[in-house]
Symmetry: C2
Subunit: 112 residues, 2 copies
Amino acid sequence: MPAIVQDFETGEILMLAFMNEEAWGETLKTGMATYWSRTRQELWVKGKTSGNVQWVKEIRIDCDDDTVLLKVDQVGGAACHTGYRSCFFKKVDGDKIRESGEKVFDPKEVYK
Amino acid sequence: MPAIVQDFETGEILMLAFMNEEAWGETLKTGMATYWSRTRQELWVKGKTSGNVQWVKEIRIDCDDDTVLLKVDQVGGAACHTGYRSCFFKKVDGDKIRESGEKVFDPKEVYK
């Protein structure tokens, strides 16, 4: 099930992740956003490596019961492994794509 | 490809839809959000029936190039076929789910 992740304070979209039943249960239990990594095929506590965990402030479900919206408090201010606040830092501008967003950390420093 | 749809003015998340290459091309060409309906297996110009089309104001792509974020001007104010502004009108509250959102139209009046 896709999970849209939104900054609780600013409303900025941070990322899209996926949850299975186990990830959903862990998120409810711990209050920390936990996803299912489809590439690694394992539970993924967001921010476990970088320290940038996401405290869940509000959970919503859509009309079809097939998408989750998490409003989170993003520790460290950056959700993206590239160091940007949001994973959506690429803006489509006519037929060009340019980077547009706030870079919060240098990934080389965080993931050694 | 999943497409997160966000109100351009308020930042509210309206819905999650899906796009294929054709839907992407039509969206760019017409400026109206066009999706791929997975249930009906056809192109879907959002709001064609209800008149609540979505004018696209900004398009962003995520770090992995596998999710789109559309910031839209939602005509009529409601994105959801239930009449709510947003499809995410169900709020998880402990072990209960309650409706929480603004209802803009009565679906019985719109879809006869």
